[in-house]
């Protein structure tokens, strides 16, 4: 399978390493032609304000929204922000592909970044996973059809709808392939 990874900015190579370990082809997406060749898409961590400016500048908004309506997309941290419906303080609206309200940098600055155990529901099994939270956002509200799939203490840190999976933490920074594998095998 060809997994596209949005490579405008951020830790896209980290996602690429995980996808390659799982035995899939990686396409680093910076233009429409490469997006069209992708079977699924991952939007990485990075700076969401930078992502949205470049998406606009490079005229990728409509193609990305169209992709997300028909194919599956995973987003981590800034990727989650980019895919949400309602986020304050962005230069352009997010893509609106998963009905969640998000608060950016909700835990504070880098000094408040942390690594702690999260629990995630992977196809019915709730398992422990390392949660790397870097200037992480929080999901404030989720709409109908959005399922909770992961928790850190009281906070919901992973949600999904039919074809979009998002996390507020960075599974690509942990040496653990299970979340990417879950996305690739279960979202169509």
């Amino acid at each position: 399978m060809k997994i596209g990874i949005l490579a405008l900015q951020g830790d896209f190579y980290k996602h690429g390493e995980v996808v390659q370990k799982l035995g899939h082809d990686v396409l680093y997406v910076k233009d429409l032609a490469t997006l069209k060749k992708s079977d699924k898409l991952i939007i990485p961590g990075g700076e969401s304000t930078t992502f949205l400016r470049l998406i606009e500048k490079l005229k990728l908004r409509d193609p990305l929204v169209e992709f997300g309506r028909t194919k599956s997309v995973m987003g981590t941290c800034a990727g989650l922000i980019t895919l949400a419906t309602q986020v304050d303080g962005l230069p352009f609206p997010p893509l609106g592909l998963i009905d969640i309200n998000v608060e950016r940098n909700a835990y504070g600055r880098q000094i408040n970044s942390f690594i702690d155990e999260v629990r995630v529901n992977l196809s019915g099994d709730v398992v422990s996973f390392e949660g790397v939270f870097i200037r992480a956002p929080k999901i404030q509200k989720r709409g109908q059809g959005v399922r909770e799939l992961g928790w850190h203490k009281e906070a919901v840190v992973m949600v999904a709808n039919e074809n979009i999976l998002v996390t507020t933490f960075h599974p690509e920074l942990s040496d653990d392939l299970r979340l990417h594998e879950f996305f690739i095998n279960n979202f169509n």
Partner: protein, 293 residues
């Protein structure tokens, strides 16, 4: 060395990859930088070109000014300390700066020792001119390296020299046999463990960014093609005739560094770049890249 604290520090550096970090001296400039697509800003009182022109001792910026910039933008805010000045670092950590730059652009506080960066929760970035210097800083706890270039010169030649030095030394290390590793560590003045890491992985254990002299979109593309993972742009933006347009163009050229058509488009109609300096017209004692070891 990859304990969780360190992973968290490198993690933020990973998030900044493929982007542009811009020097700003007030909240208005910070906003221009964020609006142009900067991934972070470096808050300082004077940009390097002015520090160079003004002379005198350059110190950590006023915390009040840094806090105003923190309020203005949502992207990470970095700030500089003098080499070896761990008390300035403690102050920056106390006000919640996201990354500390132990920088040769400011006047060094300690000519023998750099800060022991493992003691801090906030990640550090340090400059280097070659691989030995990069590995010494990483051993002290730097979570990001930037090649120094010559800050405030508007001249890319030193940035190229330093990036090529690092990349070419890393390629050489990969060809060494086990019994040559210790002599290599001795010659570089770098810890054996890190020399072995480079031998096995062909890269630094932390992200490697470029700084010091980037003034045009093509400069940004050049440094990315030479192996930089992100560009710091200091005086190059706010010493040019149209900072907002130039900032956007450098962001675009950094993302699409491998597409000359886009770099060409980005280079059009930007007005004047900052005036540059011939490196050999700068007196030896005024070269910023010679500070630190």
């Amino acid at each position: 060395m990859l304990d969780k604290e360190f992973l968290l520090k490198i993690g933020l550096a990973e998030m900044l990859k493929g982007g542009v970090i811009m020097d700003v001296t007030n909240p208005e400039q910070a906003k221009i930088a964020e609006d142009a697509g900067a991934v972070a800003v470096m808050a300082l009182e004077r940009i390097p070109a002015d520090i160079r022109a003004d002379g005198g001792v350059a110190r950590m910026s006023n915390p009040k000014m840094i806090k105003e910039i923190q309020k203005m933008v949502s992207i990470p805010v970095m700030a500089k300390i003098r080499i070896g000045h761990f008390a300035e670092a403690q102050v920056l950590q106390a006000i919640g700066v996201d990354f500390i730059d132990e920088s040769e652009v400011l006047t060094p506080a300690d000519e023998n020792n750099h800060v022991w960066k493992h003691d801090f929760k906030v990640p550090f970035v340090c400059g280097c001119r070659d691989l030995g210097e990069a590995l010494r800083r990483i051993a002290e706890g730097a979570a990001m390296i930037r090649t120094k270039g010559e800050a405030g010169s508007g001249n890319i030649v030193e940035a190229v020299r330093h990036m090529r030095a690092v990349q070419s030394e890393m390629r050489k290390i990969q060809t060494l046999s086990k019994d040559e590793m210790m002599a290599c560590a001795k010659n570089l003045g770098a810890p054996l463990e890190l020399v072995k890491y480079v031998h096995e992985n062909g890269k630094l254990p932390v992200p490697n960014f470029s700084a010091g002299g980037i003034a045009t979109p093509a400069d940004a593309s050049l440094m990315m093609q030479l192996g930089a993972e992100t560009n710091f742009v200091g005086s190059g933006i706010f010493k040019s005739s149209d900072p907002a347009a130039r900032a956007k163009a450098i962001v675009l050229a950094t993302t699409h560094f491998d597409d000359p058509d886009i770099v060409a488009q980005a280079s059009e109609g930007l007005g004047d770049a900052m005036p540059g300096l011939e490196i050999n017209t700068i007196p030896e004692e005024e070269l910023l890249s010679k500070r630190g070891w």
